[in-house]
C-alpha cells in the first residue's frame, strides 16, 4: 500500500538540557524586568518548541512579535487594575465584571486562536483561523449556558461543538481543516468516564464497609467491657479513614480527567482531515499518559520546580511520538492564503488574554 509507506511521524527533538537554559534565563530576566520580559520569554519558549517539532522533514516556526504580545499584556494589566480598583471602591461590582467577561469570552477565544495560528508556520506557510464571532458566541455561551440547566447531560455535546468550532475554522494556507466524528463519539467517552466513576465508587464502598464494621465492633466491645479503647489508635483510625477516602477520590478524579483528555485527543486527531485528503493518527495510551503526568508532578515537587523544563519536554516528546500524518497526496502543493496580509492588520491587541484553549492541545 502506498499509504503505509507514506506515513509521516511527528517528532520532537528538543532536549531538557537546552530548554533548561532558555527557561532559567527567561525567569531571571522576567524577575529583573518586573514582568516586562514576559512576551520575549514566551516567544523564545514557543520558538524552541515549534522549531523542534518536525514532520515530513520540516519543522514548525513561531513568528509572533514580542512587542505585539507586550501591547496585549499591557491592555490586560490595565483591565485588571481597573477591575481591582473598581471592585474595591464598589463592592458587588465584581458580578458586573464577571458578566462582561462572559460576554467578551467568545471574542477573546477567537482572537487568541487567530493570533496563535496566524503566527504558526510550517514550511513558511502560515496557519489561520476564521474569525467567526457569532458562531463562537453561540457555541460557548448559547450551548455553554445549557450545561447547568441540563445537569451536565449536554457536556459531551458541548465538548463536541467546541472542538468542531476550533477545527473547522482553522486552516493551513488555503486548505481547511474539518472534523469527521460526531457528538455520539464524545458521548461514548463521557459515558465510559461516568461508568469508571460509578464502578470505582462501588468498589471503594465494598472495601470500606468491612473496615467500618470492624471499627464499630471494637467500639461496642470497649463500651461493654467498660475499658476505654486506646485513644491514640482510635484517633489514628478515625482521622486516617477520611484522609484515605479523600485521597482515593482525588486519585479517581485525576484518573478520569486524564482518561477524558487522552480519549478526546485521540478521537479528535484521528478524525481531523485537511483538504486534499490528509489525515492524522494519534495513539496516546492512557496508562502512559497518566504515568507521565503523575511522575512529572512528583519530580517537579521534589526538585522545587527545577525539573519543570524536563517535565515539559518529556510530555511534548511523548505527544509527538504518538502522532502521525497520513498525507493524502503531495505535501508540497499547499498554497498561501491570499488575504493573509490584510487580516494581519488591526490585531494589535493580538493575544490580550492569550490562553490555552483545551481540546486539541
Amino acid at each position: 500500500m502506498i499509504e503505509d509507506n507514506n506515513h509521516q511521524n511527528f517528532s520532537f527533538n528538543g532536549t531538557a538540557g537546552a530548554f533548561f537554559g532558555i527557561w532559567i534565563v527567561n525567569i531571571l530576566l522576567t524577575i529583573l524586568t518586573l514582568g516586562i520580559y514576559t512576551p520575549w520569554a514566551k516567544v523564545r519558549t514557543n520558538r524552541y518548541f515549534y522549531g523542534h517539532t518536525n514532520v515530513a522533514g520540516s519543522n514548525f516556526d513561531y513568528l509572533a512579535s514580542p512587542i505585539t504580545i507586550l501591547k496585549g499584556y499591557l491592555i490586560a494589566v490595565a483591565i485588571f487594575i481597573v477591575y481591582t480598583v473598581v471592585s474595591a471602591l464598589a463592592p458587588g461590582s465584581e458580578i458586573i465584571f464577571f458578566i462582561l467577561l462572559m460576554i467578551a469570552l467568545p471574542f477573546i477565544i477567537v482572537r487568541a486562536m487567530a493570533f496563535r495560528l496566524r503566527n504558526t508556520a510550517y514550511r513558511n506557510l502560515r496557519f489561520r483561523f476564521d474569525r467567526q464571532y457569532g458562531q463562537a458566541a453561540w457555541v460557548y455561551l448559547g450551548i455553554g449556558i445549557l450545561i447547568p440547566l441540563t445537569l451536565g447531560l449536554i457536556l459531551p455535546y458541548f465538548a463536541y461543538r467546541t472542538n468542531k468550532f476550533l477545527i473547522t475554522n482553522a486552516g493551513y494556507g488555503q486548505s481547511r481543516f474539518s472534523l469527521q466524528c460526531g457528538a455520539g463519539d464524545f458521548y461514548k467517552i463521557y459515558l465510559i468516564a461516568l461508568g469508571i466513576l460509578i464502578g470505582a465508587g462501588i468498589i471503594v464502598a465494598v472495601v470500606m464497609m468491612p473496615v467500618m464494621m470492624e471499627m464499630k465492633t471494637v467500639m461496642e466491645q470497649a463500651a461493654q467491657s467498660g475499658v476505654e479503647p486506646d485513644p491514640a489508635t482510635m484517633g489514628a483510625a478515625m482521622a486516617g479513614l477520611p484522609v484515605l477516602i479523600y485521597f482515593l477520590v482525588l486519585l479517581l478524579y485525576f484518573g478520569v480527567f486524564i482518561y477524558i483528555r487522552t480519549a478526546v485527543a485521540n478521537l479528535v486527531w484521528n478524525n481531523i482531515t485537511l483538504d486534499g485528503g490528509h489525515r492524522f493518527e494519534s495513539s496516546l495510551k492512557l496508562g502512559r499518559m497518566a504515568w507521565i503526568i503523575f511522575s512529572n508532578m512528583v519530580v517537579i515537587l521534589l526538585s522545587l520546580g527545577l525539573m519543570i523544563p524536563w517535565a515539559r519536554v518529556r510530555m511534548v516528546r511523548y505527544r509527538m511520538n504518538t502522532l502521525v500524518l497520513i498525507p493524502g497526496g503531495d505535501l508540497d502543493t499547499f498554497i498561501r492564503e491570499k488575504a493573509e496580509e490584510e487580516s494581519a492588520l488591526g490585531e494589535e491587541m493580538g493575544d490580550v488574554f492569550d490562553m490555552d484553549i483545551g481540546g486539541i492541545g
Partner: protein, 336 residues
Amino acid sequence: MNVEVIWYDGKTSRVYEASLNFSETGFVRLTADNISLRYAIDGISVAEPVGNLKPKIYFPDGSNCELSDLSAIRPYLPKTSGLFEFIHRCESKFIYAAGVAVLAVGVFAFMILYAVPEMARQIANQIPPALEQTLGRQLLDTLDRLVFEESRLPLDRQAQLSASFLKSIDSMNSTIDYQILFRSSPKMGANALALPSGIIIFTDEIVELAESDEALIGVLAHEVGHIEQRHSIRHVLQDSVVALLLVTITGDISSISSIGAALPTLMVQLKFSREFETEADDFAIRYLQDNNISTEPLLELLKSLDKKYDEEDTGISNYFSSHPATIERIKKLKRR
C-alpha cells in the same frame, strides 16, 4: 562564498534545495532549480538565535531559508542584536546557564526574603483606617459564621478580663482603638486571634486553660504585637505576591504541572507566618519585661498548648509549621 540551504518560497509548501552566494558586495544571490533571485543584504533579517535551533534567514519577499551553520556567512550578514546574542550565549553554554541559575535563585531569594516583606510593610502602613475597619469586620463576620460560637464565660468574668486587658493596653501608648472579644470555639480550641483594626479575640478554651490572668496578659501582648505591626495585612500582601511570582515562573496557572509550584509557595508562606509569630513573641517579651511581669506563666501556657511538646523536637517538620517550634519560643522566654 557559497552555502547550501533549504529554501521555502513563502507562496507554497514546497521544499527547495538551494544555495546562497555572497560574492557580490551588498547582495546575496539565491539559486534553486531554475530559480535565481538577488536580494539586497540590507533587506534580509536573521532570526535571533534560540537554543540549538537551526538558524533562519528571512528575505524581503516573504521567503526564508534554513541552514545548519551560520558561522561561515556571518561576516556577510546584517548584525543581529548584541543583547540577544548575549542572552543566547547564557542559554546555551552550560557554565553560563549554571551561573544564571545561581543568580536567579539569588535574586529570587532576595525578592522573597527582603524586597517583598519590605514592600508589604510600606504598603501596610499606608492602608487607610477605614479600609482596615471594613476588613476587620468582614473577617470577624466570617469567623463568627464558620468557627465561633457565643462565649460561655460568665459575663462578669468577661468584663473583668476586658477591663484588665484594656488597662494593660493603655500602658502601651497605642494609637489604635482596641476591642476585646470572647468566643467559644470547639473547632479551634485554645487560641487567640488578632484581626485588622484592633480586634482581639480570646476563645473560652484558652481562658480556661490559662492558670493565671498573667499568662493571658502575655497572650494579649503577643496579639497586640500582631496588630501594632499590621501582620494580617502584611501577611495577605506577601502571600499573594509570592504566589504570583511562583506562577510567573512555572508558566501558567491552568496546567497540571504547576501543582509543583504549590509546595514551595506554601513553604514560603509558612515561613512568613513563623516570622510574624516571632515578631509578636518579641513584642510580648519586651512588654512583660518592661512591666516586671514574669514570663513564666506564658511559658507554661505555651507548653500546655503544645500537647506534643518535646524538648528534642527540632526536625524538618519545622519547615511545615505556621508557628516557630515551641522549644524555640520557650528558650527565648527563659533567656529573659
